[in-house]
Every structure is written in structure tokens, then in C-alpha cells.
Symmetry: C2
Subunit: 318 residues, 2 copies
């Protein structure tokens, strides 16, 4: 299994990326190879100075970089030797089983939509995060920002995608999928969630457990997967960040709350597309890059995109 | 100034309400009178046993109660001597300057919509909460649940209402009103927030400071007032509750985080209507009732509903 890593992407690249790679290396199985895409000379020098075994990696050398503030679509179209463009090329050619970057998110989305493309049958790809919980697996919330105006059929598909993701990632048999709403009863909600509830109720594609509310987000008993539109999901994600900031400002100290430190958070997969693509926050530090790589490895090993594509190819949804 | 208090409303009424009233009494100015609506005999007996001066209050005796689980509209229509129906009657007659209850929220809304009614010009009334912040005044967020499908013009009016509320409650000159969104640029958001941004930009009714994101909710520098639809606002409110629960479960201890204890949270005004109405959580304990009464007193003294109605009567909005 080969994972492509963009070593030029992120506010602190390449150094933070390389340090994260060195840390991740200790936790990866020997069968997992990393293809480092970027300036090979720089890497070998950097690793050499730190006694990190540079021969443990494969390389694709390129010096072209899409900057964090460049126009995503234009730069993706013109910088054909950039690390991000090359990553998508290798994905499409099947040379790598996943591609991860903390670089320009818009350029990553350009690669997703123009090179990798949504899986046939999927109306809209989405971003899924894992949110810390005290007990059990982290909760999966999707979408957290790709589609601010998701229609009920799109939310329904997120239920399918989320269930497959949880099944593969956590080896769950029948993950509990809930709809984020503002009341437990099916009559509650906005127009979209009310219609989505009707589509999800008694469906045969996933184990729909009904509505959950904002105060249920961290409750392992109530759900494994929470479905919402990208607007609401983004607000939830950012509000969690806000709480972590309050916690830090108040100089509190708690092992569990530290998991909300988004600097260490790793990556977010884009689901519902024809390949495993993971994007990380531009601010990613070495710890975040390490998490991103471990997560990329887990997602590639679980064949998440393959399983989702396979499922959608079999069904005619709605 | 006379505040009407429903002593029969709430899961722990009347005892929790009466204990809260006794505590609030110490903090109210001598000009603030409380009209206790409910079983007068019970109150006098209860206060007598506890050496609370029962003669400090006015009373309206009634034994009829709308239960917490009763059908709101039907019970409001049929129980004409209930404490909630009487409260709205007294509001309409001008006998009280505000009415507060921790009782059946639906019945309170029935009173709002059928007796008090929205202020002329206001498309949709809303619920405004005050959210704790480390520095400065609490942040005002509206709407937190009345209108899950708010249109852009409704969000625009929330801006007006929120600005007037902040002006009156905190004696601010020109409160900063922000639109909750998923990006800072005006092109970001869902269809509703993008359209609302255009209505708010350069408007003459309030000091619009642009978009804020979920991680800015607690930031005093960025906003005094945050406008959102009732779906998103409700999720924010409940997610804050979820974080408080995590904090409690982890047995952490912080003076600031304690302010997120929603059991102590007091009431929420319904804004954009022809009277000052405050609703509190059904679970309200004496501390929450005390906060509810103090807040009711502040809102009545600041003539919040009167100022909002006055403003809307002067303008032809949009």
C-alpha cells in the first residue's frame, strides 16, 4: 500500500510535514509505503541532518508548489508539476492508494472535482470529521463544509456514506446513524431536516436511529454517525474549536479536552469520490501531520472510497 | 414597575419558583414589584414556614394550571383561569410590564401569538440568548429556535432587534452586529446567509460588522450580537450544553465554565412582540428562577419590547 504525501502543503511546510512523517513512520506497518511528493533534495538533506532514514521512503521530485493563497482552480490548471497536481495524477493512475495534503484546500477540491471525480450515483461528496467522545469511538459528523445547502436527498446519501465509513473505519456491524435536528420528534426541524427524516425513516441502506440534538453530539449511546448540512456541520466544528480556545484561555488541564486541540487534529477525508483523499488544516503542526498520515493509512487500508463507490454502483438511490 | 411571575410553571414548581423569588427579592430595587400568579394560599403558607416576607408581593390567586405536557394551543384556549392565560391577560391590560414563566413553552407561545402578538412590521419574533464570554458583556445570539427556516429579510430584522436589545440591555451606543456564517467573505455561506449579507451590508439600521464564524462566538472584540436562523441557533445553544456536560463529566472546576450550567441560566426573552415576555427552561431550579426574575426586571426596566416596537413603527423595513 502506497500513500502519497504532499510535503510542500501547509503553512509550516515542508519542515512540519517532514517532522510529522518521521513520527508517523514509527507507527506504520512495514507494508505501508510513503511516496513523498516535493523537493527530494531538501528532504534528504533535512532527514540526513536528523538521522531519519531517508531510504525508508519513495520520492517524486518536484519544486513546483501551489501556494496557500493562490487561486485554487487557476493554479491547479496551470501548475502541472506542482505537488498537488502530481498527487492527483498518481491517484488516478493507481500508483498510490491515497493522497494527503495540508496545502491549498481549494486546489485539493479542484483535483477532487476534475481529476478524481464524485463516485457514480453520489450527488455531492462531503467532508467527515471524527469528534472526540469520552466513551467508545469518536463520533463521525458529516458534512462539515462542502455543501452548505444540502438537499434532503443529499442528507440521505450522507447517511449511506457515513454508515459505510463507520463500518470500515471502526469495524462496526450496523452503525447508528442519526439526523442532527432541533427536536426528537419527526415533525421537528427545518424544511430540509423534516424531509430528510422522511427519506431516512425505515430505509434499507443504513440503521437510522432518528433525530439527535446539539446536546447529543458527544453521546456514544445515541449515535455513531451524525448527518447534517455543511453549514451546520461547519458551525459545530468551529464551535468545538471555540470551546477548546476558552478551555486554553482558562488554563484548564484535562486529558480528554486536549483531544479538541484542532492543531493536533489530523485530516478530514473527502467522501463519496473515486479515491481516498485526505485534507488537513493549513496550520498543521508535526503532531497534526502525524495524525493525518495515520488516518490516511487507516482509510486506505479500510478501502473506504472503494467500499463507498462499490455500494453506490450497486444501488439506484432514491 | 410590576413583573408578573407564573409560580405554577416549571418541572419543580411551585417550590423551586418560590425559592427563586425569595432569592431574587434581595436583589430587586424597591420600585420593582412582583405579582405572583398562582395558588396564593400555598405561597403564603410556604413563605410563612420560611420567614420570607409574603407581604412584599402582590398576588393573583388561581389554582388552574397548564401542565408541562398538555397540548399548548388547546390548553391555552380552554384553561382561561390558568396562571399562563392570566399572565397574558394582565400584560395586555397593562397591569404588568413583563411576564415570566418556566411553564409550558408552547402555551407561552400561544399567548405570544394570540394575545400579545408580533409588533407591527416584525415578520417573525425570535428568541435571544446571552452566551457567556470571558471578557465584556455576554454575547447575544438570536434566533435560537423560533424560526428554523428564517428567510434573509427575517435575519435582517433580527439584526435590528438584536441591536436594539443590546443597546437597551447593556447601554451600548452602537453594538456590533455580525452574521453567523462559514467564512468571512461575503461570497461565503448558504443561500440564506449570502442573501442576508447583501441586505445587511451598508444598512442604516444597525452597525453590521460582517460575518463571524463558529469559532468567533465567544469573542467580544468581533461582535456584541450574532444573528442566525433558529435551527443553527438552537444547535449552538445545545452544543454549549453538551460541552458543559463534558466539563461536568470530567469533573473539571472553573468559575467561567460554570456559567454554561444551563440549569442556572435564567430566561430567554421573546423579542419582536408587543410586550416583555420571558420564558425559562422547564428544569429551572431556584437559581435559574432567580436569574430569570433579575433578567425580567432588567428587560422591563430597559423597556426592551417598547423600544423595538417603537423602532419598527417608525421604519418601513425593506
Amino acid at each position: 500500500m502506497i500513500l502519497g504525501i504532499d510535503i510542500m502543503g501547509g503553512d509550516y511546510a515542508p519542515d512540519a510535514v517532514l517532522l510529522g512523517i518521521a513520527q508517523a513512520l514509527k507507527k506504520l506497518t512495514p507494508e505501508t509505503k510513503l511516496l513523498l511528493i516535493g523537493n527530494e533534495h531538501y528532504v534528504k538533506n533535512f532527514f540526513g541532518e536528523r538521522q531519519i532514514p531517508a531510504d525508508r521512503f519513495d520520492y517524486f521530485h518536484t519544486e513546483e508548489v501551489i501556494g496557500m493563497d493562490e487561486h485554487p482552480v487557476k493554479s491547479f490548471a496551470s501548475k502541472r508539476n506542482s505537488s498537488i497536481v502530481k498527487g492527483f495524477e498518481f491517484l488516478k493512475q493507481g500508483k498510490i492508494q491515497a493522497f494527503a495534503s495540508a496545502g491549498n484546500t481549494g486546489a485539493m477540491m479542484a483535483g477532487v472535482m476534475t481529476v478524481v471525480k464524485p463516485a457514480p450515483g453520489v450527488i455531492r461528496p462531503c467532508l467527515a470529521i471524527q469528534i472526540p467522545r469520552i466513551k467508545g469511538n469518536p463520533g463521525i459528523i458529516l458534512d462539515v463544509g462542502l455543501n452548505p445547502d444540502a438537499k434532503p436527498e443529499v442528507l440521505f446519501q450522507y447517511g449511506i456514506i457515513g454508515a459505510l465509513y463507520a463500518t470500515q473505519l471502526y469495524s462496526l456491524q450496523n452503525p447508528k446513524v442519526a439526523l442532527l435536528n432541533i427536536g426528537g420528534e419527526e415533525s421537528k426541524g427545518n424544511l430540509t431536516t423534516k424531509a430528510a427524516h422522511q427519506l431516512m425513516k425505515n430505509n434499507e441502506h443504513f440503521n437510522f436511529v432518528g433525530n439527535v440534538e446539539g446536546n447529543d453530539i458527544f453521546d456514544t449511546e445515541k449515535s455513531d454517525v451524525i448527518v447534517c448540512d455543511g453549514f451546520t456541520g461547519n458551525i459545530i466544528l468551529k464551535q468545538a474549536e471555540a470551546f477548546y480556545n476558552l478551555y486554553s484561555e482558562r488554563k484548564m488541564n484535562d486529558e480528554f479536552f486536549e483531544r479538541f486541540n484542532f492543531e493536533n487534529f489530523g485530516g478530514t477525508p473527502i467522501l463519496g469520490i473515486n479515491a481516498n483523499v485526505i485534507i488537513a488544516h493549513g496550520h498543521s503542526n508535526p503532531k497534526a501531520i502525524e495524525s493525518m498520515i495515520i488516518q490516511t493509512s487507516n482509510i486506505a487500508a479500510a478501502k473506504v472510497s472503494e467500499k463507498i463507490s462499490e455500494h453506490f454502483s450497486k444501488i439506484q438511490v432514491q
